[in-house]
Amino acid sequence: MDYLQENFFTIFLTLFYVGGCLYVGWYFKKQAASGVADYYVAKRKIPGWVISLAFFSTSASTNTYIGQAGKSFQYGLSWAWMGLIWTVFCIISWQLLGPRMRTHTARLQSFTIPDYFHLRYQSDMAKFIRVLSAFIILFATVWYMVGIAKGCAVVLETVLDVPYLWGAAAILFITCAYTIWGGMYSVLWTDALQGIIMFGVAILMLALPFIFVGGVEPMMEAISNTTHVTKAGEPMGNGLVTFGSLVSFLYILGIGLSIGMKQISEPKNLIRFYSVDNAKSMRFAMIWTPIFLGVSLVCVMGLGALVHGMATAEEAAVLIQDTDKVVGFMLEKFDNKFVSGICVAGLFAAGMSSLASVIIIIGTALVKDIWHVISPMREEQLIPRTKWAMFGYCIFTFGLVWVLSIYPIGGIVELTAFAGAVFAASFFPGIFGGLYLRWGTDAGALASMIVGMVANVVWRLFFRFEFAGLKDVHEIIPAFLLSLITYIVVSRMTKHRIPDEAHLDLVFGKD
């Protein structure tokens, strides 16, 4: 009984939030089942404000609100450069890819990122690219799903004492349920609601440390010269507010690029462009998406550094060893049930919005871009099989979470950053070239995809940690440049593989 009394507000808010998500999924159940265009891209009829919030909530996840926010506890306020790089790529994505991708995919009747490669480049080789890119999606996103399920399970465990595996199962299967029911409709509408919660919680979380210490001036005084120690045990001094003191700029640039460039290459982000309903909506989303993302990142990226103002030297020495615990510590120290309840809802929203987006991408890749290509099926079989594929993949992910709870491995956050680098290097040239270069070819797209993957692996295994000067040069930098050059050179060398003029006129129209 004490448990219920103590956690009443958090439990009430969590149940209300979960109930809302499930209701949205159920509400769109019938509409989503009426055809592939409905289930896969919400029939390209979604208003701009929904798409804008959905893009933001899909991009930021629990990794952002817990992992990245906590990192500045170790690296200081200049960690916000991560947020700046991220916002730059959000703007590039909406300016460079958004409008053109919406127009071209409608002309080609493309419903997934892999099928865009096939329909744009038009050949048996392009069909192979479609299947290959679907496999890349399956392998690259499983670690992301595991990371989010783990993040949410830890929140449930620390705040509500829910056993870890039960928490992971609840998060995975609740998200799976509303995604299966409403397809892209429920993914986008729940993402939008979650985006509103996340935006509010980012601002609320920023306010907490300032309220705790009594304002901006006492806070800046506390963190400008601190006796707290770094991970190596050295006093931080003025490191938290000094550029380049606690972390090299090159390191921030590498991690920032690998996470920021997901905006221009990861299918769960790019698929948002497919569903925008008209030019007015596109314009709204182009303005507001960077605002939602940028303002939220301004709030959370430096949060960890501010928590130094709330912690004693002893507490800080413990926290610096595991910065994932910084946000939880902040809520515990602030000690207000109402605030904790709202922030927990925000953390769930951050996790579930990214999870739902990934689940539908995996379902469509598995059924439409692998199974359907290898063994064609009738259209009415596509949706039921996509639903089963999503359910099966959630069971597989839960199995992986369960195994990892028995045999833990380190570096899941590193693995998801690596997956981001693979997407950026292997997908972006083929998509960008497809949208802008009439002379781009299937051979160019395939070669750049393979070079992007290989360069990522080779740089990480054989160069980055073998030479002292290259330690902070993330694999995304050489892999992305090599992949882009490969696309241009190979396309130029294989002019005979350019699709015919009639097809290119259909794709490019009058633009």
Binding site: L84, R107, G244, R283, P290, G294, V295, V298
Partner: protein, 34 residues
């Protein structure tokens, strides 16, 4: 707080403002439409 540490905080806000200005000034075309 030195200039380069503070830069990303106001830089992000300035950047999204410039982006909004550019989009407002520019026409966007989107068609209404294996």
């Amino acid at each position: 707080m030195d200039f380069w540490t503070a830069f990303p905080y106001w830089g992000i806000l300035l950047l999204v403002g410039i982006n909004a200005f550019i989009v407002i000034r520019r026409g966007i075309e989107v068609e209404d439409r294996h």
